[in-house]
């Protein structure tokens, strides 16, 4: 039996999509609709990527206020991106096919995550410490990114600024097909592993006791997270707290941590917030560029509240 709340979320998500496609239609219908469809797909994809990566990351780190971005993985992506430009030479690299480039970046990010993030998760440090390190690593890679950007092109003062907030307005739709495939594959994988994830959520020792190959699972999850972060960052840029917002909302609604329910719920919440928010901002408020900042703001506040509550138990 499908959970009633999931049905409700699904209906709401559908309503948001319909609203997004239909409100304020004007001019050449065919053209506008196809334009909107592309954007809709991109938004859904980004939402799912952020939602699923956050759930998996939280499960595998046994930590409810962690997101891949708080641990600096998206900053790592930006860094990997610019590092490749630097290493392969600007011209040669930029003339590569966008899809191929994205593929290389995803692989580079996976390698970097395994090299940097995995050892940190392994040390089983105190949560606050881990978070702090993640945030500082984020600052480090963002700074490295803007340093290299300036070394490559001293006049490009926009780089640092452009990469600091997610922008849902001009989505990089060139990558849409690759990104779709990647997201879909990840979704299938996660769905397939949903019961394993339930066990993983019980913590390392219990999971091993129940016969999970912990190392392999941890690595697989991290690779999955890395590829999803690459998808969302490539499409819209870095998001720090969005995933947290989605998961916190979804958990509130379905009141369970069981992955077979949580994962669809989070994905639907993500779609509702992003598509609904975009509809609201673009068609009704007539100003869509600020959605990213607004949701980030909300996510940050949620983070502070969670931290505050969690620490005072």
């Amino acid at each position: 039996m499908i959970d009633r709340r999931l049905v409700f979320l699904g209906a709401l998500a559908l309503a948001c999509m319909v609203a997004f496609m239909t409100i304020g239609l004007r001019g050449n219908l065919g053209f506008v609709l196809s334009l909107r469809a592309i954007k809709l797909i991109a938004l859904i994809e980004v939402g799912i990527a952020i939602a699923v990566s956050t759930v998996v990351f939280q499960t595998v780190t046994a930590n409810r206020i962690l997101t891949p971005s708080i641990m600096g993985i998206d900053a790592l992506y930006l860094f990997a991106q610019i590092l490749l430009v630097f290493l392969l030479g600007g011209l040669a690299y930029t003339s590569l096919d966008a899809k191929l480039k994205f593929g290389v970046e995803v692989v580079a990010l996976m390698a970097l995550s395994l090299g940097l993030i995995l050892p940190m998760l392994r040390t089983r440090l105190d949560m606050g410490f881990l978070l702090l390190v993640g945030v500082v690593i984020g600052v480090l890679f963002r700074s490295l990114h803007s340093l290299i950007a300036r070394v490559i092109d001293p006049n490009d003062f926009a780089v640092a600024q452009a990469s600091s907030y997610a922008n849902f307005n001009d989505i990089n739709s060139e990558l849409l097909t690759v990104a779709s495939l990647l997201t879909l594959a990840a979704l299938v994988f996660v769905w397939h592993a949903r019961h394993v994830l339930d066990v993983v959520a019980l913590g390392r020792d219990t999971a091993i006791g129940l016969g999970i190959n912990w190392t392999r699972t941890q690595v697989a999850c991290l690779l999955l997270v890395a590829s999803l972060v690459a998808v969302s960052t490539a499409l819209v840029g870095p998001v720090a707290f969005l995933g947290l917002l989605f998961v916190a909302l979804a958990e509130r609604i379905v009141t369970t941590r069981r992955h077979s329910i949580l994962i669809p719920a989070v994905a639907l919440v993500a779609i509702i917030v992003l598509v609904g928010g975009q509809t609201l901002f673009q068609h009704l408020l007539g100003n869509s560029s600020t959605l990213g900042v607004v949701v980030e703001f909300a996510g940050g506040v949620v983070f502070l509240i969670l931290l505050w509550r969690g620490s005072r138990k």
Binding site: L132, V139, S143, V293, G300, W308
Partner: protein, 322 residues
């Protein structure tokens, strides 16, 4: 720490700073040579209008930020906080933004005043909140501060975005000394006065770091010292943000490094912290000028890398006993 070793430390730091000061005068897009200084007035002008003010500004900022971090760490009793990780700098940004909005023609002095007030409010809120986080988890406080700062930053971005002030905001949010000229940096001297003021109450600050009970037991007006500390932190941060923009990590890593070497008796270490702050920032600024000569990398970016690395080393390295 014996008195002699202490003095050697101060002397050494001062010498390094002096050397860097001279280097800084010589590095930049235009050449300054001793020969040229002797003969031409153009180079003298360059020195007097741009290079010297810039170098002085860096020194004042570095010293001020390091002391602001030191004070903040003493009054929160947490080694991992500083103004840019506690929402202070972001509150100051918000203040300037609001003034720019309401009264675009306001003078730099007035903007500083407004920024100081908002910095004060923002930091006071942070301190009140941080105070209630469990002391057994010291890393929560800076984490809370960092996210609090980024939430405030989001508010500022949102406002700036709506009103097309993003460009201004990016000036304030990333520290850069390349625009410092004579006549445009003098507010930073306020920071120098506050550093001296901090030195006058150094003993009290050391006692504050022992905790509220110990402070009151020793007859210190705890609430007033708290306000004083808060005031110094806010004004230094505000002045810095107004003149050069946010410079991260100086207030974090410098006091920690000095504490590792010389302990926490602030009467002895406070001058060293100030000088070391100046050294670190000046070194980073010079580095920023050299990496892609003749273009400049803003000091905020260089500091973001150097500071983050130093910070990671600091928190990963277990405290040395001895």
């Amino acid at each position: 720490m014996s008195i002699a070793a202490n003095q050697i430390g101060v002397l050494l730091a001062t010498l390094v700073l002096a050397a860097l000061f001279l280097v800084s005068l010589g590095v930049g897009a235009g050449d300054v040579t001793l020969f040229g200084l002797w003969h031409g007035t153009a180079e003298l002008d360059l020195l007097a209008i741009s290079r010297l003010p810039r170098t002085v500004a860096v020194v004042l900022t570095g010293a001020g930020l390091a002391i602001a971090g030191l004070i903040m760490q003493a009054i929160t009793r947490n080694r991992f906080v500083e103004p840019s990780t506690a929402g202070t700098a972001q509150s100051a940004e918000l203040g300037i933004l609001i003034v720019t909005l309401l009264w675009p023609a306001a003078s730099l002095g007035f903007k500083t005043l407004a920024a100081s007030v908002t910095a004060l409010l923002g930091t006071a809120f942070f301190l009140m909140t941080a105070h209630r986080l469990p002391p057994t988890q010291p890393f929560l406080v800076p984490l809370f501060g960092l996210v609090y700062g980024s939430v405030l930053g989001a508010v500022a971005t949102l406002i700036a975005w709506q009103l097309d002030l993003l460009q201004y905001l990016s000036i304030w949010s990333s520290g850069d000394f390349s625009g410092v000229l004579r006549g445009r940096y003098e507010l930073l001297w306020i920071g120098a006065f506050l550093v001296v003021a901090a030195w006058l109450v150094a003993d009290r600050l050391t006692i504050m770091a022992l905790g509220r009970d110990a402070s009151i037991g020793l007859g210190i007006d705890y609430a007033r010292m708290m306000q004083l500390g808060l005031g110094i932190i806010s004004v230094i941060s505000a002045v810095t943000v107004v003149v050069v923009g946010v410079v991260p990590f100086v207030g974090l890593v410098v006091p920690n490094l000095v504490s590792r070497l010389m302990g926490d008796n602030l009467r002895a270490t406070l001058p060293v912290v100030a000088v070391s702050g100046a050294i670190l920032l000046l070194a980073c600024d010079i580095l920023g000028r050299l990496i892609r000569f003749p273009y400049e990398i803003p000091v905020g970016t260089v500091m973001g890398i150097v500071g983050a690395l130093l910070f990671l080393v600091l928190i990963f390295q277990p405290r040395v006993r001895g």
